[in-house]
């Protein structure tokens, strides 16, 4: 979804509607099939009414042959047309959905991850994806039914008009009020009630997930009862609020029945007078009397549409809101070519701020990553370590200052090109719902099985994989739910080892492991990365003897830098952190046996 300047102001639903154009023919076909099915239902009753009324005049049977054939044909048409409509509309739905998803993806791809801080939580993400999927209803449940319903409603009015204009007028009035005005008014009313419902739903979800999420703590504090009561209270408020919507919908349903029913009565009364005065054939009276009964189906179809439109409109607004966010990274119009290796990475006076944040997360950081050198960035959380990583990956542009890769300012390079040189092993790397092997291969599709195994071995995962019955083919489950957190992290490591980038960023690689294992793994990794330009971000100092330079960050500024030995000698912040980490007594040696008292 490319956002041209002119598109921003347009209503979200109109922008979404543009995506239906390429499948327009199928949508028209769906409308035609739907209209034929509806028309067949109306026609069946109208023709049957004519047939019976005419038969009551005891004509020769030949006079009824056409009507009999018509009744039979219409009865077959209805089912067949409905079947065709279902198939065509589902086919169109899949196509619309495919296009929408690709369009949304293309745009998300530009703004993620730095442009989407609010969408990190899984639940919000799921809702966003559901919102995108809801957009197909615009075509299938709003536009198509409106088109088909309007066509057939008009046809029924024309039929009655041709028999007796007053009757046609009565039906027209009934349809316009019952099928168009009433549902729309009801939606306005229930929309207001819905505005109260939405926050309560959110509150209910929050209270429910909180109760389940914090269950151990609540049980331990003997506080589950009060939390259950709170959920029940929100639920009661929600039921009351939904009562408002229910009344609006109920009123709409009643009024629709009333207006179309009274329109039928009025048409019948007009017909009775017309027959009496000789202006109308008695046979036509049966048609006038019975046709409005079948038209009620049209009303049902149209009554639901405003409700679906309101849903589509709400989710379209949310989708468009995400898509209109500014891109956190400005791509150069004409990207400079990627320089030739080696790739020294130089950071000069870097100030960086996250979109929406007031204070910069980094304030004047200098850093030099000479090819082959290994640099560690340490500091407490919130010191700006993750921001530095985001800027180096070109997920975020500097406010001031420069980052040069191979001597070229990275803002002059295409972001994807930068990331071909600089790769990250993130602490929250996503594991896709596929096999272990596929997850690693993601880094380099062309890799041979041996290379994949070597990468797994480098991440300390090969023995585990070889022990699995399905080996590399083992599925990891949704968000890696079938494997442990440590294994997830190691898969991410194997991935980046397979990618074999000139510059490697390691963001807290040992975060989900216990300190002893984590320190060992960090040492292993630094060995594996020997000779490669590496930036290690960590809060553990144990493995840092191996790195060439240590940069201590605090509150977005560099407070100390030097080698491990040098920093220890200088008796500064690093020395204090080191002492605290070292000072703690070592764990006692394991006794023989499993566990003893």
């Amino acid at each position: 979804m490319r956002t041209k300047a002119g598109e921003r102001g347009r209503a979200p639903v109109r922008r979404i509607a543009a995506y239906g154009r390429p499948v327009g023919r199928r949508l028209v076909l769906a409308v035609v099939c739907g209209a034929v099915a509806l028309a067949a239902a109306v026609g069946l009753l109208a023709t049957s009414a004519w047939l019976i009324a005419r038969a009551a005049q005891h004509p020769p049977i030949l006079y009824l042959a056409v009507a009999i054939a018509g009744v039979r044909a219409l009865s077959l048409t209805r089912g067949a047309a409905r079947y065709a409509e279902r198939l065509v509309s589902h086919d169109a739905a899949f196509r619309v959905l495919g296009r929408l998803r690709v369009a949304v993806w293309t745009r998300l791809e530009r703004i993620a991850p730095a442009g989407l801080p609010a969408y990190r939580s899984g639940d919000l993400l799921a809702r966003f994806v559901a919102d995108v999927d809801t957009q197909q209803d615009l075509f299938l449940r709003v536009l198509a039914p409106y088109a088909a319903g309007t066509l057939v409603g008009t046809g029924a009015v024309v039929l009655l008009w041709s028999l007796l204009p007053v009757a046609g007028l009565a039906l027209l009035t009934g349809l316009v009020i019952g099928a168009l005005v009433v549902p729309w008014l009801a939606e306005c009313r229930s929309g207001r009630a819905e505005d109260r419902v939405a926050p309560l739903r959110g509150e209910l979800t929050a209270a429910t997930t909180e109760l389940l999420h914090a269950m151990p703590d609540l049980l331990a504090c003997d506080a589950t009862r009060s939390r259950l009561d709170r959920v029940a209270a929100v639920d009661r408020a929600l039921s009351r609020a939904r009562g408002g919507t229910a009344r609006a919908h109920g009123l709409a349903a009643g009024l629709a029945t009333l207006t179309t029913g009274l329109a039928g009565c009025a048409a019948l009364a007009a017909g009775v007078t017309a027959v009496r005065s000789g202006a109308l054939d008695g046979v036509a009276l049966a048609v006038i009397g019975l046709t409005p009964l079948a038209v009620s189906e049209v009303v049902t179809v149209l009554a639901q549409a405003p409700r679906d439109l309101a849903d589509v409109r709400r989710s379209a607004a949310r989708v468009v809101d995400v898509l209109d966010r500014t891109e956190p990274v400005a791509e150069p119009v004409v990207p400079a070519p990627l320089p030739d290796p080696p790739y020294p990475l130089r950071v000069e006076g870097l100030v960086a701020r996250w979109p929406g944040a007031v204070a910069p997360a980094l304030q004047g950081v200098d850093l030099e990553l000479v090819p082959g050198r290994r640099v560690a960035v340490v500091g407490p959380s919130g010191a700006g370590k993750s921001t530095l990583v985001a800027v180096l990956l070109r997920f975020l542009d500097p406010c001031t200052g420069r980052v040069r890769l191979g001597g070229v300012d990275v803002t002059e390079l295409a972001a994807d090109e930068v990331r071909r040189v600089v790769r990250l092993c993130a602490q929250d790397a996503h594991v896709f719902d596929t096999s272990v092997g596929e997850n690693v291969l993601l880094a380099r599709r062309s890799a041979s099985p041996d290379e994949v195994r070597a990468a797994l071995a480098g991440a300390g995962l090969l023995d585990w994989v070889d022990g699995l019955p399905d080996g590399l083919e083992t599925p990891v489950g949704e968000h890696g739910c079938r494997i442990s957190g440590g294994q997830r992290q190691r898969i991410a490591l194997a991935r980046v080892l397979l990618a074999d980038p000139p510059v490697l960023l390691l963001d807290e690689p040992a975060e989900h492991l216990d300190p002893a294992t984590g320190d060992a793994l960090t040492t292993e990794l630094l060995c594996a990365a020997a000779g490669r330009t590496t930036l290690l971000v960590t809060h553990r100092l144990a493995a840092l003897e191996a790195v060439d330079e240590i940069v201590v960050l605090d509150a977005g500024r560099v407070v100390e830098r030097g080698t491990h030995a040098g920093l220890l000698a200088s008796d500064g912040a690093y020395r204090r952190m080191w002492d605290l980490e070292r000072d703690a007594p070592p764990l006692p040696a394991p006794p023989a046996g499993r566990a003893q008292c």
Partner: protein
């Protein structure tokens, strides 16, 4: 994946009605409204047929037919009122029933406890208790009333037609049962394909969510842009597969439509032919013609809302499956409840305990014994995944051992009411969770009656002096605090409880070393006169321990077996 299988429910399942009382009242209302609807339908048909016949054949004028037309208008008015009541009642009842099921579901989840409610299940149950139950909305609001109508209206219509014209009644009586019969036959024939199709759709939905969630990772590896083609391809592939299945699945709707419209045509043509011969009069013929489609309409509507039924019943099946999961130990009723022995006088013993998690080959802990003597602080150390947290959860009464027992002064905890037991202990889980609200509210969770001074004392004991104040408002899951600050708030909450037994699972996790020191110092007086089980894999807190017990590593690398 969940170990709980879903219960398979019938369209109107007594088990669902048993769990949702409000649904029974609603069902009764549906029956009453359905009967009235059928009566009005028949009345309207009679009036309409009578009016048309009188005007057509007898030449009656408007004045003569005024009564009939007014009655007709009255019937229309009554039907409108009925629609109003039906629609409003449907939505309201759906809200009430889902609220009732939600509250039962959550209360039962509390009874099942954290031992059953692992992280994954917690997310799943959260989704079921919110969005999942929404799937029951349409089931109650749309499907159930139609189901009732589908039973009542055809029978009523058939009886009325029988009173008017035997031939038409027989035609309807013969064709009507064909609808459900064909539906069932086609349903059976296509069930396998249909199920596969719904799974396909689920995979399709899941794939997009998965790649969107992994977008940053894909960007790092330069795969994000290429993924657009993959999304298009996956959607197309699934669309093709789904379409071939839908062609079969929609057959049942096709047959339903065909049977009902062909029957109406059959009735109409038959009436026409017999009218010519004078075997039937116009009024009867019109009455039957108006009523005939009404006999099939509710059945068709049931078909239309079939998807709501499938979705709703799937959710209901999961709800019933959870509700029918027996709790870890049945709550001891008043008379049989064993008094909780005093931890201040008696040792707490873990005796040869083995804990197994369902679906895992390896037990989380195997044959472990441990004794906590009154007033003693025991530190439990060992590598990640060796079962330390399992032992803590066991002491907190969240798990039941597969073999062995936990006893206090010789009394097996299995016989003690878990709530009563938990009132005697304070437990700090490995990943403590905070709630939305102020810091003080979070701390006061442990003791709602605690005064401001007590809360402040607990906070400063937990090393939160000078940090965010007690009135600081936190977001969901304690959002707004750093991990270390959250840990300290949870610790303050634990310290607020004046209980004889403390179970502290990694009390200094996520703290920097200076803070860890402060916390350890603050903990010291609290541990001094209590029985404490202290789990740590950091060396800092070991200074508190009177004794250190090491739990061996598991030989097989299993996924971390930590409940929640």
């Amino acid at each position: 994946m969940p170990a709980t299988g879903d219960a398979v429910l019938r369209p109107l399942d007594p088990r669902l009605l048993a769990h949702a009382r409000a649904a029974r009242a609603y069902l009764a209302l549906c029956v009453v409204l359905g009967l009235v609807a059928a009566g009005l339908l028949i009345a309207q048909a009679g009036l309409l047929a009578g009016t048309i016949t009188a005007a057509f054949l007898e030449g009656a004028d408007l004045a003569a037919l005024r009564m009939s037309l007014l009655l007709l208008a009255a019937v229309v008015l009554a039907r409108a009122g009925l629609d109003w009541v039906q629609e409003a009642a449907a939505h309201r009842s759906a809200a009430v029933v889902t609220a009732q099921l939600r509250s039962r579901l959550l209360a039962h989840a509390v009874r099942l406890g954290p031992g059953w409610l692992t992280g994954e299940r917690s997310a799943e149950l959260g989704a079921l208790a919110t969005r999942g139950l929404d799937g029951l909305d349409d089931y109650f609001a749309r499907y159930l009333p139609q189901l009732v109508l589908a039973v009542l209206v055809p029978v009523a219509v058939l009886l009325r037609v029988l009173g008017a014209d035997l031939v038409a009644a027989v035609t309807i009586a013969v064709t009507l049962p064909l609808v459900p019969v064909f539906m069932v036959l086609i349903g059976l024939a296509t069930r396998h394909r249909a199920q596969r199709q719904w799974r396909t759709l689920a995979v399709l939905a899941g794939h997009f969510l998965d790649v969107v969630a992994g977008l940053p990772t894909l960007k790092v590896f330069g795969r994000a842009r290429a993924q657009a083609d993959a999304i298009r391809e996956v959607t197309d592939r699934h669309a093709r597969a789904a379409m071939s299945t839908l062609r079969v699945v929609f057959l049942s709707a096709l047959v339903l439509e065909l049977v009902s419209t062909l029957s109406v045509a059959l009735v109409a043509v038959g009436l026409g032919l017999r009218l010519i011969g004078g075997a039937v009069d116009l009024e009867t013929a019109l009455l039957v013609l108006i009523l005939a489609p009404e006999a099939y309409r509710p059945l068709r509507q049931v078909g239309v809302h079939h998807h709501a039924c499938v979705e709703g019943l799937a959710a209901a099946g999961r709800v019933v499956a959870v509700l029918e999961t027996p709790p870890l130990r049945p709550p001891a009723s008043g008379a049989h409840a064993i008094a909780v022995p005093d931890v201040r006088l008696h040792p707490v013993r873990v005796e040869g305990v083995t804990v197994e998690y369902p679906g895992r080959a390896q037990p989380a802990v195997a044959d472990v014994s441990l004794e906590l003597r009154p007033g003693e602080t025991v530190a439990l150390v060992g590598p990640t995944g060796c079962g330390k947290s399992t032992l803590a959860a066991l002491l907190a009464g969240f798990l039941a051992p597969a073999r062995g027992r936990v006893s206090v002064g010789g009394v097996d905890l299995a016989g003690v009411d878990p709530d009563a037991w938990r009132r005697r202990l304070a437990y700090l889980p490995q990943q403590p969770r905070l709630l939305a609200g102020t810091i003080a509210e979070n701390v006061r969770l442990a003791d709602p009656g605690a005064g401001e001074a007590a809360v402040c004392r607990a906070l400063s004991a937990a090393g939160l002096r000078g940090g965010p104040g007690p009135d600081t408002l936190l977001g969901e899951r304690g959002c707004g605090l750093s991990a270390g600050q959250r840990q300290r708030v949870a610790l303050a909450r634990t310290l607020l409880r004046d209980v004889p037994l403390l179970v502290l699972d990694e009390p200094t996790a996520g703290l920097d070393i200076a803070t860890e020191r402060a916390v350890v110092d603050a903990l010291r007086p609290h541990c001094a006169y209590r029985t404490v089980l202290l789990i740590t894999h950091r060396p800092g807190p070991l200074g508190l321990a009177d004794r250190v017990v090491r739990l061996d590593d598991r030989s097989v690398p299993a996924p971390e077996a930590v409940p929640a």
